[in-house]
């Protein structure tokens, strides 16, 4: 049984929950896997700590909470400080490198990959799509989900009229992640 525990962390307004939802949707609806998501955010809609727990598994999920994440997707320093100690010893951290510093916070055997996702999103045309760049980076750097499944999940999740730019954001993150693995 392959079970991957993922925690997405950042601030309200960054699209953390949507990021987790797209990953879960891609896995469960478009990639034939099982997924579960738990979301948590502070009392304010924007600017407060926010996180999503996502489980992706080949089999039915009996316990939906993340205990020791295999993968952290981080978009704020607070999220890194809070969640890095929970990471599995050989876990993977994917982080927005202009917002997060991981030095000294990760287990020694953990791998970490950074991406200038905010800059990419601004270059594409909208800072708002930072989270979609991170979804693409997740898909490209982990290979857990097929690109096609993630693309369908993005198209199914974003508002009408924004699809094309969101797909460019997804592709930018995905390509960056693949290139890091090459």
């Amino acid at each position: 049984m392959t079970r991957t525990e993922i925690r997405v962390g950042g601030l309200g307004g960054q699209g953390i929950i949507l990021c987790g939802s797209i990953i879960g949707k891609a896995a469960s609806i478009y990639a034939g896997k099982h997924a579960a998501m738990i979301q948590a955010f502070g009392p304010e809609a924007r600017g407060s700590a926010c996180s999503a727990q996502v489980i992706v598994s080949d089999e039915a999920i009996g316990y939906p909470y993340v205990r020791r994440p295999d993968i952290l997707v981080l978009m704020s320093q607070d999220a890194c400080t809070q969640f890095a100690p929970q990471l599995k010893p050989d876990g993977l951290v994917l982080f927005e490198e202009e917002l997060v510093q991981t030095a000294g916070l990760l287990p020694p055997a953990a791998r970490s990959l950074g991406i200038p996702a905010t800059r990419f999103a601004e270059e594409i045309g909208r800072r708002l799509v930072l989270n979609i760049v991170m979804v693409g980076f997740f898909a490209g750097a982990t290979g857990i989900l097929p690109h096609e499944a993630v693309e369908k999940a993005v198209l199914d999740s974003v508002p009408k009229g924004t699809e094309s730019l969101n797909l460019r954001a997804l592709g930018r993150g995905y390509d960056f992640g693949r290139a890091l693995l090459a």
């Binding site: 929950i17 998501m37 045309g125 974003v158 508002p159 009408k160 924004t162 730019l165």
Partner: protein, 200 residues
Amino acid sequence: MDASELPCIAHLRNGKGATLALAEAGDGALLLKFYRSMPEEDRLALTDDVTTADWLDRFLAKLGSGEAISVVGKIGGEIRGEATLHRTLHGWSRHVGELRLNVDRAARGQGLGLELARHIVKIAIDRGIDKLVAHMVDSQMAAKRTFEKLGFHKEAELPGHVTDIHGKRLDLLIYANDVSHVWAAMESLLGDFRPDRATR
């Protein structure tokens, strides 16, 4: 409208098809031919003298830098219409894009202008533009109708702001379309997203 969706075929009212494509440097000669064949009265109130090689050089440079994105409509291998998005990449108006649209007289009334305008508006939204404007003079009735169909409205009128190529002063009409609502939906989605309330 992603640029990757072009080229495409636009079906015109006369039953013919027009190929719509992003303008490239290789279209320069055809563009110049298109504008030079345009009667003088159609060029009276254009922002630039589009019949000169200097204009073409500046235009192609803007295409290269991304300050301009142009969609051309070709029928029988010749350009019969052109729509351009002009934008500044920096500064306080970087969220604003200006649209310019020109259609050959022989191709008017067939829906080519509307198709070109529709595509360039979608490209503008896709590039993150929040507000679109189009400048025209009062006599450009077809242009006004085309942009109104796409949600534009008259936002301002500047008396005597345009000098046509004969030196006559004309009033400038500024038509505008605020398309930021498209992205307001995305912003709302990010701020307070609950999968169980997702609409799509």
